[in-house]
Amino acid sequence: MTAPDAASPLRLFGRDHDDREWIARLKKAEAPLPLGELGAYELIEEVGRGGQGVVFRARRKASGEMVALKRLRSGAFASEATRIRLAREARTISDLDHPGIVGVREVLEIDGQPVLVLDWVEGVPITRWAAGTTDRSGSLGRRLAAVLEVARAVAHAHERGVLHRDLKPSNVLVDDGGHPHVLDFGLARRFGEADEESRVTRTSEFVGTPVYAAPEQLDGDEDALDPRVDVYALGVILYEVCTGRLPYAVRGGPDSVRAAVRRWDPLPPSQVDPSLPKELDAVLSQALDPEPAHRTASVADFASDVQAILEGRPVRARVPSPLRRARRFAYRHRGPVAVTALVFVLLSAFAIDRARHARALRFERDELAVARASEERIRLEAERQRRLVEERLRGVAISERRAQEMLDFFYMDVLLGIDPGDEAARARAALSIDASSERAEEAFAENPVRLATFHLQIAHVQRIWDRFAEAHVHAERAVELLEAVKDGDDAEIRARRASALRALGSLENDLGRFDAARVTYERAIELTEELEPVEREEELSLLLAERAAMLVRLGAWDAARSDLMRAAAEERAFAEENATFSIAARMNLAGLLGRLGSHDEAEDLYREVLSRGAARPEEQVLVASAHMSWGAMLRDTGDLERGRELLEAAVDVVRLTVGEGSTEFAQVQEELGLLAVLEGRSAEAIAKLRFALGLREKLQPEHHPDLVETRHLLGAELLRSDRFAESQQLLRKALAGYEANHGDGAVELIPILRGLTHVEAKLGRLGEAISLLDRALEIAETNGLVDVAEEARAALRRISAEIPATELERK
């Protein structure tokens, strides 16, 4: 037994005490210290401490009246700039006069330091207030009304030319009467004004609270700031107030938040809480758009939408269909590269897979950067998740929402953060995928739509990793789940089904299961056609273009052409109706028209894309893509001179937007290489292709399809230059790549088998050449490629004629 005083925590300070003494001492150590006075005010408690200011609740000694006092955190050490900022905050608030904005009473100077005296609001942050309105459905009106009041107060500030820039729940207090009050204009800035004083708030790094900050704010782009940053913050607050959670389950600094926002659409509120109206989905989808150009233009518009929901009137913002979300998702992920990719789909027989992989590429790089930036956070979070899983295994129930958060985290931060070239990491992750699939099946047994989304997410990841078979299993499960949903006539469910079917069709296509893909695409197209144009967005044109790509692979040119024509018509209708998406949509249409041979019309569209894109700094990657695909189109139609001009311009834009170390840079060099091939400038072609290959080898995993294809291109060009040994080496590597990616019997193998046959023949290895041709013939016959098979037979006959009969027999 320990003697009682041996436990005294004070023994280390050289004294022993009995129980009563050390407990009294501890009590004293923890007792709060009275804060004292500041000028004519008695400080009661510290209520907030931000980057610059400290806010106290204080009582005016003479009158007993309660106020909030704000003084600079650094006090006498404050820089001149900080003082100016506080003085400006005072002036800014004085200019505002609205019951929803906390007013400034006076600005004092105490001991040479500025102190702001503000109205005291007895209230709680709006999110905590909302969480307290327990009866969710009954109180939605009250919560919307509160956010509406906030929006009106902010709109008032905007009318006076003042941006808040730091709206967040702790700056919006709701009083006992349910009325919100906006405070802390500490980061406020006047817009449309660039005087010296405004520059005070310019700092290179981001100031504010990351989850409520608009992406452009996180980018630190001060000049781009306009009322839409406050729209965004209000959107986050509205989301949180209505659903009880943040739109992005991200903890961490600006970098993590920025990455999440750029990559994901938040879950529509009605999916978090089915009692919420669909109109809210629309309003929030628009208010939270990461691109300011697509976001609700003003707080006044936002307010009138919120009011419309309250009054049950239609909202101005469009209800986003799942397809629209899927599109935006795609845009966020692949950016304009995907558009380029789509355009490139049919340019050459072996460029078929470029679409898929160009899309995957941008992904990989972004995700990698994100993963590295937040490794530590992920490690900690993973640890937390592991503990949660353990709890779960111990039979502690986890709510569905929690499970969803876990899965979102798993998908967004863990899976997408894995370097696709890191085999070991992928293998480990595959195990987690299996485990999490089981858990998801359990947790979402009652929610097949959510479960299907999970399976599609997993399919997506597996596909990026080129694990087509595994991806296929998940896509199939998603389709199965969605087809079993009751109330399946709901447009949303049908749209989701179509979307899942397209994913499944693409995967069947990837796996060479063309018959299955034909059926799946057909079903997807039927389903999509039943949707209203506003619901199907670009889905139909994408589907048709994908199927066309497959048909080209199969040699069904006429059917492919008819699909492309329909896709173009659909795309055109879409582009005409959707001004906001016109740049990207026009890119798609231009690509389709180019392939259909309507080159003039395609050129007009490209021209338009470039002129519109020129004024939009955020669209520069798209501009680069337009140069690239336009240039490639001209090249492939024989206008080499203008093709070169455009591709060279593309080099500059790519260099400026994504840099020289990017796969896009490799891509544009490769396009120029192909141009040089057509120009007959073999040395230049080889140099460009070699450069592209070197870059890809650095950036991409061994069998990455783009890398494989570049090897193929370079190998083919070396063959034309009679550099057989080198060519053989590259083409063999490329063949191994095609086999790894598509399987031994895939039609993709035919062009390379053909090239390699040629090399082997030139090197005098006729037996080898014949066996390669045999393989090509077999693949062609199996897949019903009659012309190709005939050509292979002819080649076989020619080669056979060149070698002695004995050798043939031996073979």
Partner: protein, 193 residues
């Protein structure tokens, strides 16, 4: 008990970019400094200012602080910095009429802060608070609740009744927390250097 492989806060502070370490430092020492200033007779706002000044100075010097396990080194350094800042603030406020105990300062600057009873007490309280913060965050909420009642002056039987425990439980809780507190303080002192 004192051996720890985790780098101490002071070691982490050698990296000026370790924002988390700096925030932790601020959270741990701000209260100590402000309380000391208040007990030295400065009003709250001045105390905050002094504290800010000390923090700025620490940010400048700690990355280069020669870390050693020599006991009391950091404590002495912090004490001297705070005392000097308090003196400066007093002078700023009261002009040269403020009597400065130069002998006292010389003592402090020689590295022995134990001449300053106020500082010594505050420093001990600081460690008790830190340890208690850890306990509140790590112990079972019921134990913490029982201990809080003891702190508030309730006797073991009253605590037992209120929380549905036995008196034996309550005694045990008090003893365990006391022991843990001692262990934590020891660890903190070891890490502080």
């Amino acid at each position: 008990m004192t051996t720890t492989t985790r780098p101490s806060l002071l070691e982490r502070l050698r990296n000026p970019a370790d924002q988390v370490a700096w925030e932790e430092f601020d959270a741990q020492y701000r209260e100590l400094i402000v309380r000391y200033c208040r007990r030295s007779g400065l009003p709250h706002s001045d105390s905050e200012d002094v504290c800010q000044g000390v923090m700025i100075a620490m940010a400048r010097t700690l990355p280069r602080f020669e870390y050693s396990r020599e006991k009391g080194r950091f404590r002495g350094y912090l004490a001297r910095s705070v005392h000097r800042a308090v003196r400066t603030q007093m002078r700023r406020r009261l002009g040269d009429s403020w009597p400065v105990d130069d002998e006292h300062l010389a003592d402090l600057e020689s590295g022995d802060d134990r001449h300053d009873r106020v500082w010594e007490q505050e420093w001990e309280d600081h460690h008790l608070r830190l340890a208690m913060r850890t306990i509140r965050a790590t112990h079972h909420p019921r134990s913490v609740a029982a201990f809080d009642l003891i702190l508030a002056g309730s006797g073991p039987s009253a605590v037992a009744e209120e929380l549905g425990l036995t008196v034996g439980n309550v005694r045990k809780i008090k003893q365990r927390i006391g022991e843990r507190l001692a262990a934590l303080v020891e660890q903190q002192l070891g890490e502080e250097g």
